[in-house]
C-alpha cells in the first residue's frame, strides 16, 4: 500500500493538468486550422492584432472567472465598460488638468475607481439584497447602458483634444520591445488573477463559497463579503479593459461593449471554469478568450464561408472545440 501511496499524487496531478491544458490544446488545434486556411494567419502582425484585440474580453473574463467561481454571474460587464469608458472620456474632455500625461493617468485612476464602485454596487445588491445575480446584473446592465446613452445624448463621446488623443493612443498601439502593451496587460492580469485564485486565502474562500455556501458559512467565512469582493474585482477588470479600449478608437457610444458579457462568460466556460461555481481556471479563461477571437479572425481571413453563414460556423466550431476538450480530458 505504501508503494501505491507514492504513485497516486502523480496520477491525480496528471489528470488535473490535462483538464487545465485542454483549452490550450483546443486553441492550438484551432490555430493549426487557421494556418491551413491562410498563410498570413501566423504572421507576426496578425497574431499581435488578434492578441491585442482579445485584451478586452480576456481581461473582463478574468474578473468573470472569479465571480463565477464564487457562485455568481455578471451580465453587466459590457454595459459597465461602456459606462466607464464614457465617464473616462468626459473626464479627458473636461480639461481639468493641463498636462496631458497627468490627465491621462488621472483618467485611468478615475476609471478604476468607477469600475470598482460599479462592481461594489452589483456585489452588494446580490449579497445583501439576496437577489439572483442573474437578475441584479441584468438590471444594472440596463442601468449602465442607459446612463451612457444619456451621457452621450444618444450619440458618441469622443476625445476632443487631439494632443491627448495622440498621447493616449500609445497605450493601445504602443509596445515594449515589440510586445504590444495590450498583450502585456493580458499577461499581467492573468498572472494576478491566477495568483489571487490559487495562491491567496481570498481565492481559496472564493472557491469554497462557490463550491458549497453552507460549508463556507459554517467555516466562518463571510460569504457576502467574499462574493461582493469578487464583483469589485470584476469591476476593476472591466476598468482595466476600458483603459486599454478607450485609446483604440478614442470614443464610446451606446454600441460599446455590446455583447461582451456573453463573450466573457463563454471564454470562462470554454476555459474550464464550472458555471455553477467552485472550480475556476484563470489561464483556461485566457485560452478561451483567445479561442473566441481566433475563430473570428480565421473566419475573416478564410474565403470559404459565405458572409451570411459565419455565425453558424463560429457556433459549430465552439461546440466542436468543447467536444474535443472533453474527449481529451476523458482520455
Amino acid at each position: 500500500m505504501t508503494q501505491a501511496v507514492h504513485d497516486a499524487p502523480a496520477g491525480a496531478a496528471r489528470r488535473i493538468n490535462l483538464g487545465a491544458v485542454a483549452p490550450f490544446l483546443a486553441l492550438i488545434l484551432i490555430c493549426a486550422l487557421g494556418a491551413a486556411a491562410n498563410a498570413r494567419f501566423l504572421s507576426f502582425d496578425n497574431l499581435t492584432n488578434v492578441l491585442a484585440r482579445s485584451t478586452f474580453i480576456a481581461t473582463i473574463a478574468v474578473g468573470q472567472t472569479l465571480v463565477i467561481t464564487g457562485g455568481g454571474l455578471d451580465l453587466s460587464v459590457g454595459a459597465m465598460a461602456a459606462f466607464v469608458a464614457g465617464l473616462e472620456i468626459l473626464f479627458l474632455n473636461s480639461g481639468l488638468i493641463e498636462n496631458a500625461t497627468l490627465l491621462i493617468v488621472s483618467a485611468m485612476a478615475l476609471s478604476l475607481a468607477v469600475g470598482a464602485l460599479c462592481g461594489l454596487f452589483n456585489g452588494l445588491t446580490t449579497t445583501v439584497g439576496k437577489i439572483e445575480p442573474f437578475i441584479v446584473t441584468l438590471g444594472t446592465m440596463g442601468i449602465f447602458r442607459s446612463l451612457l446613452t444619456w451621457l452621450a445624448q444618444g450619440g458618441s463621446i469622443t476625445i476632443r483634444d487631439s494632443e491627448v488623443r495622440a498621447a493616449y493612443r500609445q497605450v493601445y498601439f504602443g509596445d515594449l520591445f515589440g510586445v504590444p502593451y495590450p498583450v502585456l496587460v493580458i499577461v499581467g492580469v492573468a498572472i494576478v488573477g491566477a495568483f489571487i485564485l490559487t495562491r491567496t486565502a481570498f481565492g481559496r474562500r472564493v472557491r469554497a463559497v462557490g463550491s458549497n455556501e453552507d460549508v463556507a458559512r459554517y467555516s466562518g467565512i463571510g460569504v457576502a463579503r467574499v462574493r461582493t469582493l469578487t464583483y469589485v474585482l470584476q469591476g476593476l477588470c472591466v476598468a482595466i479593459a476600458v483603459v486599454i479600449y478607450v485609446p483604440r478608437l478614442s470614443s464610446a457610444s451606446a454600441a460599446t461593449g455590446l455583447g461582451w458579457e456573453l463573450m466573457a462568460i463563454t471564454a470562462v466556460v470554454v476555459g474550464g471554469t464550472r458555471l455553477k461555481g467552485g472550480v475556476g481556471r484563470v489561464w483556461g479563461t485566457i485560452a478561451g478568450a483567445l479561442i473566441l477571437e481566433v475563430i473570428g479572425n480565421i473566419m475573416l481571413l478564410s474565403n470559404v464561408v459565405s458572409e451570411y453563414l459565419i455565425g453558424a460556423v463560429q457556433g459549430a466550431i465552439i461546440i466542436i472545440a468543447m467536444l474535443a476538450q472533453r474527449l481529451a480530458r476523458n482520455r
Partner: protein, 525 residues
C-alpha cells in the same frame, strides 16, 4: 413502507435459510472481490455470502472498505477483480438500477435524496404511482407517511428533504429502499444518525424482514447493536477479510479486537471532575425561530456538557441559532461579557466553534483536497503575507492525520473520496485548528469506528482538561453518559430537564426525552 404492504415482493423459498449455511442457500455471494481507486487497492480479495432470512454484519475500522464492498454488491461500483453470484449463478450488475431490479437494494451511508423533492417524491422517484397520466400524490404521500410511521416518526412527507433533519433524511432513505421490491437489503450505517428510539424501531423492522426471508447485510460501528441483530459477522481490516464468525458468542470486545487487531483499552477515559469555576459560557432564554424556545444553560471551563433528545428535539437548531447560523435570539455571555454572534465568524473570533452534524452538506467541501478542507476555517493562521502557506498546510495535515488517526491512502484525495468516518475525523481536526475555548460538537462520533471513538472521547476529555468548555450533542446516550459531567435533555424544542452524576442513566434520559415513563406507564412531566 411497512413490510407487509409490498405486494410484488419476490417470495422467499422457505426451504432455504434456516437449514444452515450450505452453498445452495446463498442468495448473494461475492467471490474474491478486489477494488482499486487509481493505484490504491482498497479492497483485496474479499469473499462474502448471505443467506435468505439472515443478517450478516460487516464491521471494520473507518476506511476498512465496508462501503466500497457494499457499493460493489449493489452495482454502484464495479470490482477490479472478482465476481458476484446471485442465487448461485454468476451475475454482472450493470448498475444500481439493474441491482434493484434484481431485488438488491442499498441504503447508502451518505444521504442520497434529491434535496428539492419531498420525502414522498423521493421515495417513489422513478416508480411513481399514477392514475392514468396523472401522479397520485395523495396515495404516495399516504404511503410515505405510513412508511415513516414504522419508525415512530410522523414525518412531514410533503416538505422538501432539504428542510428535514439528518435523522429524518436517514429514515426517509431507509423507507425509500424498502419500497423497492427487495430480497437483499444492504444497510450501510443506517443508525449512525438515529437516536435509540428510532434505532430500536429499525431493529424491529429488520427482524420482520428477516422473518420474511430477506437477506440482510448490515454495517454499523455500534457493536452492541451488531450483537443484537446479526447472525453472522464479517470483519474487514485494511481492505482484507479478517474473519467471518457466527454472531452467537462473539462479544463486542471480541469484535473490537478483531477490527483493530489488538486489545482495546476502556472505551471511555477516566472521569475527571470538572473544576468548580464560574460559568464560562452562559446562555439565557435563547430560542431558534420555530425550533427551540427559551433555552437557558451554562458551562464551566473544563466541563463537558451533554445534550440529549429525540430526533427533532431541536438541539441542532438551538446551537445553530446560537452561533448565528440561523435565525434566533437570546442572551449569550462568554466569560461574563455579553456576546452578539451574527455569524459563525463572530463566534470563532470570540473563541467558540460549532461542529456540524451534517458533514457532507455543511462540514466539508467534497471536491476539495484534505488540506484545503482542514485549514478552511483557520485560514488566517496559514498565511505568509497574502499567500497561503502550503507547506504549513501540509504540516498541519500530517499532524491532524496523526492526532485524529485519519486513514487515507493518499493525502492528495478529495474529501469526498474518503470513507465516511474519516470525513468526520477531518471535520473535527478542521475545527480544532481554531484552538477554541468553547467547543460544541454535534454528533461527534457519527459513523466512527470504535477505536477512533475511543480516541475522540479521550480527545474530548483532554480538551476539557485544558480548561475548555465542551458541549457534546449526541443521540448515543451511552457515550454522553460515558464522557459528560452533566446532560441536558431536550424535548419539543425546550429543555426538559438535566441529569448529573449518578443520575445519568439511559432510563432517566429516555424519560425526560419522551415525556413518558415507560416503567410507570404515565407522563413524567
Amino acid at each position: 413502507m411497512s413490510t407487509a404492504s409490498a405486494p410484488n415482493q419476490p417470495q422467499p423459498d422457505s426451504s432455504r435459510g434456516r437449514l444452515g449455511r450450505g452453498e445452495s442457500e446463498f442468495v448473494l455471494e461475492a467471490v474474491g472481490l478486489s477494488r482499486s481507486f487509481g493505484p490504491i487497492e482498497v479492497l483485496g480479495d474479499v469473499s462474502l455470502d448471505v443467506c435468505a432470512g439472515e443478517v450478516h454484519a460487516i464491521i471494520g475500522e473507518n476506511g476498512a472498505g465496508k462501503s466500497t464492498l457494499m457499493k460493489i454488491l449493489s452495482g454502484h461500483l464495479s470490482p477490479t477483480r472478482g465476481a458476484l453470484k446471485l442465487d448461485g449463478a454468476a451475475v454482472d450488475l450493470a448498475g444500481p438500477v439493474d441491482a434493484e431490479r434484481r431485488g438488491i437494494v442499498l441504503v447508502h451511508q451518505e444521504i442520497m435524496l434529491a434535496p428539492d423533492l419531498t420525502i414522498a417524491e423521493n421515495m417513489f422517484l422513478g416508480r411513481e404511482i399514477r392514475r392514468g397520466l396523472v401522479l397520485d400524490d395523495r396515495e404516495m404521500n399516504r404511503r410515505a407517511f405510513e412508511a415513516m410511521r414504522v419508525f415512530g416518526v410522523e414525518a412531514p412527507v410533503n416538505l422538501p428533504v432539504e428542510r428535514l433533519s439528518i435523522a429524518q433524511r436517514q429514515l426517509a432513505q431507509i423507507a425509500r429502499a424498502l419500497t423497492v421490491p427487495h430480497r437483499v437489503v444492504i444497510f450501510d450505517e443506517p443508525t449512525a444518525s438515529l437516536t435509540p428510539v428510532e434505532t430500536a424501531a429499525l431493529l424491529r423492522l429488520i427482524g420482520d424482514l428477516k422473518a420474511r426471508g430477506v437477506a440482510i447485510l448490515y454495517i454499523s460501528h455500534r457493536l452492541e447493536e451488531v450483537k443484537a441483530v446479526a447472525d453472522v459477522v464479517t470483519v474487514l481490516r485494511d481492505g482484507k477479510k479478517v474473519a467471518t464468525r457466527p454472531a452467537a458468542g462473539l462479544e463486542p470486545v471480541d469484535m473490537a479486537r478483531l477490527m483493530v487487531g489488538r486489545d482495546l483499552l476502556a472505551l471511555y477515559p477516566p472521569r475527571v471532575a470538572a473544576p468548580s469555576a464560574a460559568p464560562f459560557l452562559d446562555v439565557a432564554g435563547f430560542g431558534a425561530d420555530g425550533f427551540a424556545e427559551d433555552a437557558s444553560f451554562s458551562v464551566r471551563p473544563g466541563e463537558i456538557l451533554g445534550f440529549s433528545g429525540l430526533v427533532g428535539a431541536g438541539r441542532t437548531e438551538l446551537f445553530e441559532a446560537l452561533f448565528g447560523l440561523r435565525k434566533g435570539a437570546g442572551a449569550i455571555r462568554l466569560d461574563g461579557k455579553p456576546q452578539q454572534w451574527r455569524d459563525a465568524r463572530a463566534a470563532m473570533r470570540a473563541g467558540a466553534v460549532y461542529l456540524t452534524e451534517d458533514r457532507k452538506g455543511k462540514g466539508l467541501l467534497l471536491e476539495e483536497t484534505l488540506a484545503t478542507n482542514l485549514t478552511l476555517a483557520a485560514l488566517d493562521g496559514f498565511q505568509r503575507g497574502p499567500v497561503v502557506d502550503r507547506a504549513g498546510e501540509a504540516r498541519a495535515l500530517d499532524t491532524a492525520i496523526q492526532r485524529f488517526d485519519i486513514r487515507v491512502g493518499d493525502k492528495g484525495l478529495n474529501a469526498g473520496q474518503m470513507s465516511g468516518g474519516n470525513q468526520q475525523k477531518l471535520l473535527l481536526a478542521k475545527m480544532m485548528l481554531l484552538d477554541p475555548r468553547v467547543v460544541v460538537i454535534d454528533e461527534p462520533t457519527r459513523g466512527i469506528d470504535i477505536g477512533a471513538k475511543q480516541q475522540i472521547y479521550r480527545f474530548i476529555a483532554a480538551m476539557a482538561g485544558e480548561g475548555r468548555s465542551v458541549i457534546v450533542i449526541s443521540s448515543e446516550m451511552a457515550e454522553l453518559i460515558g464522557v459528560c459531567h452533566r446532560i441536558i435533555v431536550m424535548r419539543n424544542g425546550r429543555i426538559a430537564g438535566e441529569v448529573e452524576g449518578e443520575a445519568m442513566t439511559e432510563h432517566a434520559i429516555v424519560v425526560l426525552a419522551t415525556g413518558v415513563d415507560a416503567t410507570a406507564g404515565e407522563a413524567a412531566t
